[in-house]
Amino acid sequence: MSTTELLKGAAELFPDEVVTSAHVRHLDLPFNAGRFALITLDNGFDHTKPTTFGPASLANLNAAIDQVEKEAAAGEIIGVGVTGKPFIFAVGADLKGVELLKEHKDALAIGKGGHEVFKRLSALAVPTFAYYNGAAMGGGVEVGLHCSYRTVSASLPAFSLPEVFLGLVPGWGGCALLPNLIGADKAVSVIIENSLNQNKQLKGVQVYELGIADALFEGADFLEQSLIWTASVLKGEIVVDRPVIDRGEAWDQAVAKGRFIADSKVHGAAPAAYRALDIIAAAKNGDLQQGFDAEDKALADLIMGGELRAGIYAFNLVQKRGKRPAGAPDKSLARPVTKVGVVGAGLMASQLALLFLRRLEVPVVLTDIDQERVDKGVGYVHAEIDKLLGKGRINQDKANRLKALVSGVLDKAEGFSDADFIIEAVFEEIGVKQQVFAEVEAVAPAHAILATNTSSLSVTEMASKLKNPERVVGFHFFNPVAILPLLEIVRGEATDDAALATAFGVAKKLKKTAVLVKDAPAFVVNRILTRFMGEIQNVIDEGTPVAVAEKAVEPLGLPMSPLVLLELVGPAIGLHVSETLNRAFPDRFTVSPNLAAVVKAGKRGFYVYDSGKPELDPEVAALLRQGDVVLSEEQVRARVLDAVAQEIGLMLDEGVVAEAQDVDLCLITGAGWPFHLGGITPYLDREGVSQRVNGKPFLAPGVASVPA
């Protein structure tokens, strides 16, 4: 089948493609170097809608290459360039088109179609040049890799091969070409390490330093300087000298490093990184066509596999649903927040004060029960500001401004009388919190929102004794506050729309991913994590060795093992939450006597790290009282997953969140659950757990899976 027919067939499957044009324009290069054809990739929209490649877009590029190929063969031009519209080079394949694919042969056609078009750029009768003027990702990067030369703008903000992050491989030449251009080690960093490191982006300077681009020019006259450079290259005045690639042991070591990184990030739970590494390993012999064929195959397999669909699902959750929270009231109802009060000056409260200060840049006042605590809280914020200053993240003026905005007082009336938003982060005890809110209500203005950072107490109960319970809202952050994006916004029974809208408005300014949650015990993340941990504890208590229980859940690709997580949270807090949930749902949530013993003994965790690796603390081992039921890893995994599926099913029935999507969004952004698995529900559906436990999948076919 010809490339044209291939792409035509693919285009029929994707009628809503935002089609990218490939404009061919001719120009005279400086220094009388000759006539040149420059192809501009442009979808006709401004930079807020980046240029992508679907089948019709590829067909346009193919037609443009038809034209320049003839001109090159006829000697009418001496070179061909490719660049993008302002601020954007091209950001790769259009994911919407990928989501629609239902059959392996169609998926194969997409991979093959891209290859067939792009590789023509390396087969023209004249040299080809890519000018990375702006954001370049995936297929955008790969178009340039097929060219003879590349330049990059120092202003380029984002450059990546993010395929592995999404659950794909760089399949339009990236896996085969990049290691052959810059060596396997650097290629593994770009393709594997950056992708698995939350899709880390390269800047223009790094693209040049890695050797991906042959020349770096400042953004102000990037294209002019690129074309002048092109003229010099074509006249032979500049000879591009690329370092020789080590095709020996270094190549194998790089691939091994990649596998190590993949193992430590996804624990074998997602295939994309491994498929990419296989192709990189094979690319050692320099046979590009063999690499391209392997890419086609890998791409098609992955597109038809669940992991990619889960990856795209997660991407859409974070990029779209995370920015337009389901169920949030109209934002016009939100009240302005010009001053923030924080009740408590402990570590959590101080971290919150710092976050509000940095993002809202309004006065933030801390209160506590004695001057020493208040001073310590303000001192913490000042020290953090100094750290930012030291790292050059803020300048002296900004540091002065922020320090002047934060203050601490003992008298709540003095601190909160003109505050618009007051958040409490005091001891997790309902009586204490009710007392604090009563005091705050007595001195705060009538319009002020009263927010609680409680992780497990009832917001409704907390508000119940107030004159105006409608202004109380749950505002539950996740530790570390500065890093984890999730904010569970809890609507109590009395909470009104204005309070809720204000909370969502503040969340947006804090740059948090807000999810609306019903006032139910432990809300979303802690409830699922506690049920999950509880089941692990149960099997340990019943007799399964700790190591087996820990290993059983590795395929979930969690950021850390359950007991390491427990250590991070603090066994005492873990125990406290399990007690709270046990009171709410005694039939499903247990309180582990072993955990209680560990807490009682004052242990901070289960492991010691003396050998450099976690090993069960002998003192903890001595405390454990286990039964005699020893389960296999499979059995443990089944029990844990069943428990999680049951809990999520019940939460959806209770209306804790609007949809299963919100559960996954919470787990990804609040607990670091794996992006490439789409959180948890796509995995539970795919593994048949949802069907087994709840009699139905959480998500309709096609939402995070191959459409029916």
Binding site: D28, P30, L38, L223, I228
Partner: protein, 408 residues
Amino acid sequence: MPRTVRDVVFVDGVRTPFGKAGPKGIYHETRADDLVVKAIRELLRRNPGLDPKKIDEVAIAATTQIGDQGLTLGRTAGILAGLPQSVPGYSIDRMCASALTAVTTAAGSVAFGAYDAVIAGGVEHMGRHPMGEGVDPNPRFVSDKLVDESALFMGMTAENLHDRYPTITKQRADEYAVRSQEKAAKAYANGKIQQDLVPISVRNTNAEVGETGWGLVTADEPMRPGTTLENLAGLKTPFRVHGRVTAGNAAGLNDGATASIIASEEFAREHDLPVRMRLVSYAFAGVEPEVMGYGPIPATEKALAKAGLSIEDINLFEINEAFAVQVLAFLEHYGIADDDARVNQYGGAIAYGHPLASSGVRLMTQLARQFEEQPEVRYGLTTMCVGFGMGATVIWENPHHKDAGGDK
């Protein structure tokens, strides 16, 4: 405090290729500030001896100082060009002689000792900012008969100048225009112009105009090599029925930018910067606004008098060709032949175009190149007419001349 007036030199000048204003012009989708920014950057690349930190001022001219020509362009262009934030800047306007005034104002400050090195240039995107955009002339101009109604229409003032010089016929103006095109084409063929042009990338999204996508401009768009008298004879005279001024014997409406480095001679020598021209004197003069094209004559008289020179001492002329008649009036006044070889050797604005506030530096850049080629010439001048009845003249000495720097 004792003061010494310091010698001021023209170090280097560059410009963008000039474009035709309007939707079909090469710069239709290009911002004015980007044009001048790219000129400044090229200037700095060409003169690595000039540490950007040592630039004391960025004086950028624009006639219509709004939109992408507003916001105190000298300052914003400096930041956009990547100059250190410590380098200040300002905007300047004297319509057609704006860039020339940027140079003289900067030069005056250098001579005084306030600055060592300055970027001076100008930009006019007449496609984005047509002449007269947003103006609000005081009604008293007309009610009090301060100026003739034709004063605001440059083409009409050119017709008025023909009236003042009855011997300057349309035929003579057309012949002059044909020569300007010929000289410009020859200068291009000999590579005299391109060496000081900054290539500009341009985007076109309108298929009706031509190929779409990004392109590169490396040559002036307005030029019409091969123009003949016959071509010009039939052109309309839009400013007066049976008039003499046509699109063919006048500069067009254009987009473009220029930039130059002006420095004290001492600074230039110390930093190994080229010394292309030494400033001798400058002068501005006002005339009746309705014959603004007469302006260069009194301005030149003043400048010559200040320099203690006479017109015979000047052996190279760069006269802005806003209109052929205005050049011819100048030549007729001084008894110089229409086709004198010392005048506009590379052709002029009739061929290249005249993006108002940028043109002065183009004249200087070309004169500097001619000085290099003709060390036997000691003095040259750049002169322009200015809207609302003004003239502007700068006299330069050729540093390559054997007696340069000495007494006359």
